[in-house]
Symmetry: C2
Subunit: 164 residues, 2 copies
């Protein structure tokens, strides 16, 4: 009997490593929120850009709801303008709740799902991997802008390469 | 005869997709360099940060030399302060040369190499995947800072999500 060789492809990154990569970046973003003086988090801008709290609202609106769509196939509403009480501690709490939710949802993604093409928030099409990769890239992008906000306030941002 | 099942692990991202992801980001960075007025590229700063040309020198010092180390196992010198003629067009030319070099070097990375642990530039230890991932993250990070520079100059940066 002739058998077809089942070539095992070595993964260049595992789902667990990808989660850890993301959560590592999320820890840096949390420290960036912490580094802001209370008022500057809500008010400081450069060149007509959004204050950092607005960017954080966008990141919160993407991460957990986006993963929910991926895991449950539900259609989530993209809400980056939710009600809040203008307190930094509220944003830190929401951040920590999202951290837990991401870990729980992640455990439900099947390895073969990462290559499947889906549409998120009713309009963004791509593979599950590319969606999550975009979540991370977008977070790095906006957090880096917050680094400039902090520097312009004379505050040293957290170290970019420390992820624990 | 009993055979051991060869479980084929589905890759969540292929080496070719990772290269395309990086080159997509590099195209955005190139457009960011282009968007700067000649003088501002070399002089404009916020909060004591480096002007963008210095960050681009860092990115150039990492990408091609880093890949050379990965592919050839040579020990490359990290030189982010090379001689240049203070012209933006020179940086665009160096950027394009690196684009070609990256494509050529990439073709020589073996799929199984991405999980191997190496030390780059004599000090940074990690898997080949994590090294390349860091190159990309670091590029997104500094380019995003350049977006704030551009906005502070009243210039609209390139679209973050357009990668072609």
């Amino acid at each position: 009997m002739e058998t077809t060789a089942n070539i095992s492809v070595s993964q260049i990154i595992s789902p667990t490593e990808l989660l850890e990569h993301w959560q590592g970046h999320r820890r840096v973003t949390r420290r960036t929120i912490e580094a802001f003086p209370e008022e500057a988090f809500f008010n400081h801008t450069i060149g007509g850009m959004r204050p950092f709290y607005k960017m954080v609202m966008e990141l919160l609106a993407i991460a957990e709801p986006g993963l929910k769509e991926i895991v449950h196939g539900t259609s989530e509403h993209f809400d980056e303008d939710f009600k809040h009480d203008n307190k930094k501690e509220t944003f830190l709490r929401l951040w920590d709740e999202a951290t837990e939710a991401i870990n729980e949802l992640w455990a439900k993604i099947k390895p073969e799902q990462f290559k499947e093409t889906i549409t998120l928030f009713g309009q963004y099409e791509g593979t599950v991997y590319s969606q999550i990769s975009y979540f991370i890239d977008n977070e790095i992008h906006h957090r880096a802008q917050a680094y400039v906000y902090l520097r312009s306030l004379g505050i040293e941002p957290p170290l970019f390469f420390v992820r624990d």
